[in-house]
């Protein structure tokens, strides 16, 4: 594989629009390409994807490679792994970046293995230091931050944590070439079949977009408790989040509300953690909230160490009056 100083991002699109993480990939990719004196290329896979190619340029790509194939119209781990691997082999980048998404987590390790490099997953920061990719990531469930560098700087592959990096401002004056490349996917290489996709959408504002998040944990105690949190979130115009415990206990129906290491990363203006102990696996997903508020009956709970305001109390006693007080304030 001929190596050049290209930074290649593997973008993702939904219904012709590039996803948020793709914009973040372009944002960080631009900085890395600068550090390498190279260019930023975007790879987009699917069918009917030309518009998203153009959008990628608006968000910073110097050029775009499209892989269009009916076999790729729908995500499939086997065909996408093959397509991305072959595209990389043809393009010969020195850095390949993917989002740490449904697709990225699935294919990055395999693509890296096929390309003979070491993948670094779920990076929160990337940098170039004398041609090497310096990768920062959270380890030990958010208890520590590791900075690592690839030993062999030939080709480096990483996935980035969604919402950890900043996209560029869109600029429609940016120009770039869009090129189709061909890959060869054998039918027998596709060994897994996607049968269906079920969305468990939570009604109301999406967690990722919410400016206010009311999060509940093991201390909530039952499903009714979460009803109270829903009421509170509705009044504040926010969304409800959880730790992993309420799902395990069956108080909430889906894991899509989980915040943290294995769930979502959020950065709202106000984060109210109720009955949450403050395990690092949780805090890692919300520690960048502007104002952190904790309500916990244990004055020793770790959550207070990472909060700006705290109430030491049984939430069942303070939450009802708090809802009333907030309602009253919001009415004025």
């Amino acid at each position: 594989m001929a190596q050049n100083s290209t930074v290649l991002i593997c973008g993702e699109q939904e219904e012709g629009k590039i996803t948020a993480v793709t914009k973040e990939l372009l944002g960080v990719g631009k900085i890395l390409a600068g550090g390498l004196n190279g260019k930023l290329s975007a790879l987009i896979i699917g069918s009917d994807i030309r518009d998203s190619g153009e959008e990628a340029i608006v968000y910073g790509a110097d050029n775009v490679y499209l892989v269009e194939d009916p076999l790729l119209s729908q995500y499939n781990p086997d065909s996408y792994t093959t397509a991305i691997t072959q595209a990389c082999q043809q393009i010969g980048p020195s850095v390949v970046l993917l989002g740490h998404t449904t697709m990225g987590r699935d294919v990055a390790g395999r693509v890296a293995f096929r390309l003979g490099c070491f993948p670094c997953m779920n990076c929160t920061n990337l940098d170039i230091d004398s041609k090497s990719l310096v990768q920062t990531r959270s380890v030990y469930g958010g208890n520590a931050i590791a900075v690592v560098v690839s030993r062999d700087s030939q080709l480096q592959l990483a996935t980035i944590k969604p919402r950890a990096m900043t996209p560029l401002e869109p600029d429609s004056s940016r120009k770039g070439e869009i090129e189709n490349i061909k890959v060869k996917i054998d039918d027998p290489a596709i060994r897994t079949k996607l049968v269906s996709t079920t969305k468990e959408e939570v009604e109301g504002i999406k967690l990722e977009d919410a400016r206010v998040i009311v999060a509940g944990g093991g201390g909530i105690g039952d499903a009714e408790g979460f009803q109270l949190l829903q009421d509170f979130a509705r009044i504040l115009g926010g969304a409800v989040g959880t730790t992993t415990v309420p799902y395990d206990e069956g108080w909430v129906p889906t894991t899509s509300m989980v915040i943290g290491d294995s769930g979502k990363t959020v950065k709202p203006d106000l984060y109210i953690a109720i009955g949450i102990r403050g395990a690092s696996q949780h805090i890692t997903g919300c520690s960048e909230s502007k104002l952190m508020v904790a309500i916990n009956k244990d004055s020793d709970a770790g959550i207070f160490k990472v909060s700006d305001l705290g109430v030491v109390a049984d939430y069942r006693k303070v939450l009802p009056p708090l809802i009333e007080r907030c309602k009253a304030l919001l009415a004025t």
């Binding site: 070491f118 708090l322 007080r325």
Partner: protein
């Protein structure tokens, strides 16, 4: 069904944050807190047991580690796994995820007619989540990651529900295959009394590199793909102002007031 489950021993991820300490870019094992089976790996064992309960078969728990790692294999045996294997050798020490996957693949190839290989979604320490995918590559088997439910259909086809951020996907794959199991599969069962008794008395074979013939240039600390520049603890501490009051209502009023002043409501 011949199922292999890869289990790793990790620092207890549920230990209190304040017990977590670093020194010279290394984690210091806190005193009095035993290492545990990686939580997702216990869930992978649970997933294997559910398949076995319905369809019969044999479960082998396998780990790359030190002599101490026999405890995680014992844990799997106590839950109901039938066999265990410990892979340990000086040459394996310091192996990264790719090398670990290679070692596991060499060992799994020595086990007869494996139908299903289960890994955890990720190890709770370095959380790369790539041992499973690379293992699939090494074994040249299909892979489905982040499984939250698995069901064996006729004709050796496995139906897998895979977690996505806002729901799940259903995949079908014919066996043999590799899966990584996510925590949504549910609480792993407790070991039974008989399970513990059998597990403690069972001889667990220990395989060294001689048994699995890996190319030593691809494993161990020298083959590491990443070099650690630094390991540090994140600065997350904030100065917490405790909001008080004589009655719950007064506390609530004080807090609401402060939220108003901060401009967030």
């Amino acid at each position: 069904m011949n199922i292999v489950v890869c289990v790793k021993q990790v620092l207890d991820p549920e230990m209190p944050t304040e017990k977590f300490r670093l020194k010279d870019n290394q984690v210091i094992s806190p005193e009095g807190i035993p290492l545990v089976i990686n939580p997702c790996d216990a869930q992978a064992v649970e997933a294997a047991l559910r398949v076995k309960e319905k369809h019969g078969g044999k479960i082998t728990a396998i780990t790359v580690g030190t002599d101490e790692s026999k405890e995680v294999v014992r844990r799997a045996l106590a839950m109901g796994a039938d066999e265990g294997i410990i892979l340990t050798d000086d040459a394996f020490a310091g192996s990264d995820s790719l090398a670990t996957a290679y070692i596991l693949a060499q060992a799994i190839q020595k086990i007869d007619a494996v139908d299903l290989v289960l890994c955890g979604r990720e190890a709770a320490d370095w959380s790369m989540g790539i041992v499973g995918p690379v293992l699939a590559e090494r074994l040249n088997l299909p892979l489905i990651t982040l499984a939250k439910n698995i069901e064996l259909l006729d004709n050796n086809i496995l139906k897998v529900e895979r977690i996505i951020p806002d729901g799940y996907q259903v995949f079908e794959v014919s066996l043999p295959a590799v899966l990584t199991v996510s925590n949504e599969i549910g609480l792993p069962r407790l070991p039974t009394g008989m399970g513990i008794i059998n597990a403690v008395r069972k001889e667990i074979p220990v395989w060294s590199n001689q048994d699995i013939n890996t190319d030593v240039s691809l494993i161990g600390a020298n083959a590491e793909g990443l070099k650690l520049l630094s390991l540090s603890m994140p600065e997350r501490e904030r100065k917490c102002e405790i909001v008080g009051g004589e009655t719950p209502d007064e506390v609530a009023g004080n807090l609401a007031g402060k939220l108003r002043v901060a401009g967030v409501i």
